[in-house]
């Protein structure tokens, strides 16, 4: 067993897959000599050369079109975006990637991995911070993976590269330096979640950073509430079985997302839970529908530990 940072764990997966399969190549801005904004690809240029570690200039509008063509031509592109905000420049392509298998009635498959750093908690302002998972969640044909630990990062980047269909691999910007033990595990992208804390009174369902926030928040609860925390690793396909099993047991669900509430991921979850059993008490937490301020005021927009513990207590009333 090895101790790795989140960034190193992604690199470990990329390296192994690139060594095993010469169809795999990586492409993005400043990923070569600089090793990418978060050092994920540091050293790979030296090891694999400029044909498989491709530094590309500012044409995010083209990244995924190139990837579509390359995949259609028999390669496996791993495309790195600088932030999920810039991925919006390729939104039309994301829609196309999701639809391409359908358009081609299964004759063409697109093994494309889109790596996008995201997050609302690092105060870079409205143009460089974002979640946008609700946007991508509504595009059919795209798998969404959100690793939460270095071990997830390693195992799920491998599984994503093995997948025959497009994967949106969302990396939380605050995770890259997180260090933990990493071991190889077989994982599926076909609906994957984990219960990181068992409980009987209330289920918290979240993903990525807000799952960690929820765990910290629950530790601080003075009241005697038994909280179960379900972390979604694949947002799409959703592991609906685990979610429903948990809420059936607790009868209460606190759904937390980092993105904005509204026509959102947690709204979709709330709908699924309500359809399953209308008696389950549901609360949602997410960002406010305001552009994220640059600097410390950002914390007013996103859910805080206090918001989470209060929401749990409200559900228990």
């Amino acid at each position: 067993m090895q101790e790795l940072t989140f960034a190193e764990a992604i690199q470990k997966g990329l390296r192994e897959k690139m060594l095993n399969d010469d169809r795999v190549f990586i492409i993005g801005e400043d990923i070569g000599i600089l090793g990418g904004r978060y050092n994920v690809t540091r050293g790979l240029l030296k090891e694999f050369g400029p044909k498989r570690v491709i530094d590309i200039h500012l044409i995010e509008e083209l990244f995924l079109g190139i990837a579509l063509g390359a995949a259609q031509g028999g390669l496996i592109p791993v495309v790195e975006f600088l932030t999920s905000n810039f991925l919006l420049l390729g939104l039309s392509d994301v829609n196309r990637l999701g639809a391409w298998k359908f358009i081609n009635v299964g004759k063409v498959r697109l093994p494309i991995i889109i790596r996008a750093p995201y997050g609302m908690y690092h105060s870079y302002g409205p143009e460089l911070s974002g979640d946008y998972l609700s946007v991508f969640y509504n595009i059919p044909g795209i798998q969404i993976v959100i690793p939460r630990t270095p071990e997830d990062a390693y195992n799920f980047i491998c599984a994503s590269i093995d997948s025959k269909d497009p994967v949106l691999f969302m990396e939380h910007e605050s995770f890259y330096s997180m260090k933990a033990e990493v071991s190889k595990k077989p994982v599926t992208l076909c609906g994957n979640s984990e219960i990181i804390q068992n409980g009987s009174d209330c289920s918290i369902i979240s993903y990525g950073y807000t799952t960690n926030l929820a765990r910290e928040s629950v530790k601080l609860l003075h009241e005697n509430v038994s909280v179960e925390i379900v972390n979604l690793i694949t947002l799409k396909p959703l592991d609906i079985k685990t979610i429903l099993k948990s809420v059936r047991k607790t009868g209460r669900a606190l759904l937390i997302e980092e993105g904005r509430l509204g026509a959102s991921v947690t709204s979709a979850l709330a709908h699924l839970i309500r359809e399953f059993n209308p008696k389950i008490r549901i609360a949602q937490l997410g960002a406010r529908d305001i552009p994220l301020p640059f600097g410390p005021l950002a914390k007013l927009i996103v859910p805080s530990q206090l918001d989470i513990s209060q929401a749990v207590l409200n559900l228990m009333k």
């Binding site: 509008e61 390359a70 196309r96 081609n104 009635v105 025959k164 992208l189 609906g191």
Partner: protein, 338 residues
């Protein structure tokens, strides 16, 4: 006129009088035209409910260029007209079935407007978001280069897509990466109702030259003139593994689609181009240079009519995708399937 004849004669000398090849190009053009006209009839009789676009007057470029492509060469066709697919060897049955929305079509009639994916013939789907295909083409050409394969990509585009931001970025990238792709722009002067001259003060030639992609242009309505130019460009792309751009000057003698009567088009201009119909021009050329006889040409027309009618009759009896089988087994967006 005299100069044109000399040019054509020279083209024939260059070709070494490949009689059959030229007659085959004619057959592709006539077949595509016949199919186009028959589908228009069906649309007018409300037997095609979807929007229908006509490629009449634009058959020359696609017919000539596909005749020069190898089977393993990749074709990304444009959405207007059928000469691309007929020329690349796709059966009329599959083309017609797709156009009529039948399950026997290449894309089971559900993939979108005029999608003709055939991996054996290397025909790939175009995107209906204009300005996306040439990016995909560069990606495919990149894959060819990486895998050291002996083939090229040919992508067709309209002049309307050249104002997209992706256009210059794509040319820039193709030149930078030196990938084997031939961009063929069919400049029919119209982007739906907008004239090319209303959207740009620089010519395509200036734009393409600025990118570093090798450029050439030719009259898009005269097959014999297109042939040597396209042939040398394809050879350049293949041998140098480099991008090239061919602009075919032509004119859209139809509306954007059948519902559009092109009321904004100048009648005199339209008439002028109708007289320059590529099938008419090519017939005259073939007869003048004794490549084919009038009998050869009428035999081509007869065969085209028969083939198109057989395909139409067959496809009309084919079934459409049924809701049941669609929902139970045919949803191709699901990711957790093999």
């Amino acid at each position: 006129m005299k100069l044109l004849l000399i040019k054509k004669f020279w083209a024939l000398v260059m070709l070494g009088h490949k009689k059959n090849e030229l007659l085959e190009i004619m057959e592709v053009m006539v077949t595509a035209r016949t199919l186009d006209l028959e589908l228009q009839k069906l649309w007018r009789n409300k037997m095609i409910s979807r929007s229908l676009l006509s490629g009449i007057g634009g058959e020359a470029g696609p017919a000539v260029i596909t005749s020069l492509m190898h089977t393993e060469d990749i074709l990304i066709p444009h959405y207007r007209g059928y000469a691309y697919m007929v020329g690349k060897g796709l059966s009329l049955e599959k083309i017609v079935a797709e156009m009529l929305g039948k399950v026997t079509g290449t894309n089971k009639g559900i993939g979108g407007y005029g999608k003709f994916t055939d991996l054996e013939l290397n025909i790939y789907a175009h995107s209906e978001v204009a300005g996306s295909d040439f990016v995909i083409a560069v990606g495919m050409a990149f894959a060819i280069k990486m895998r050291r394969e002996d083939k090229v990509v040919v992508v067709f585009l309209g002049d309307g897509t050249t104002t997209r931001t992706t256009f210059f970025s794509t040319l820039n990238l193709a030149a930078l990466w030196k990938v084997p792709v031939l961009f063929v722009c069919e400049n029919n002067q119209y982007s739906i109702s907008q004239l090319f001259s209303e959207s740009s003060i620089t010519s395509l030639k200036e734009k393409v030259n600025a990118s570093g992609v090798y450029y050439n242009e030719i009259d898009g309505n005269d097959p014999l003139l297109i042939y040597p130019v396209a042939k040398s460009l394809l050879a350049y792309v293949r041998k140098q593994s480099s991008p090239a751009f061919l602009e075919l000057s032509t004119y859209r003698v139809t509306g954007h689609n059948l519902a559009d009567r092109g009321t904004y088009q100048d009648n005199a201009e339209k008439k002028k181009w109708e007289k320059r119909d590529p099938i008419r021009i090519f017939s005259e050329t073939l007869i003048r240079f004794r490549i084919g006889t009038k009998q050869d040409l009428s035999a081509i027309t007869k065969r085209a009519e028969i083939h198109v009618n057989v395909a139409l009759n067959k496809a009309q009896n084919d079934s459409e995708y049924e809701s049941d089988s669609f929902l139970k087994g045919g949803i191709f967006t699901e990711t957790c399937r093999n």
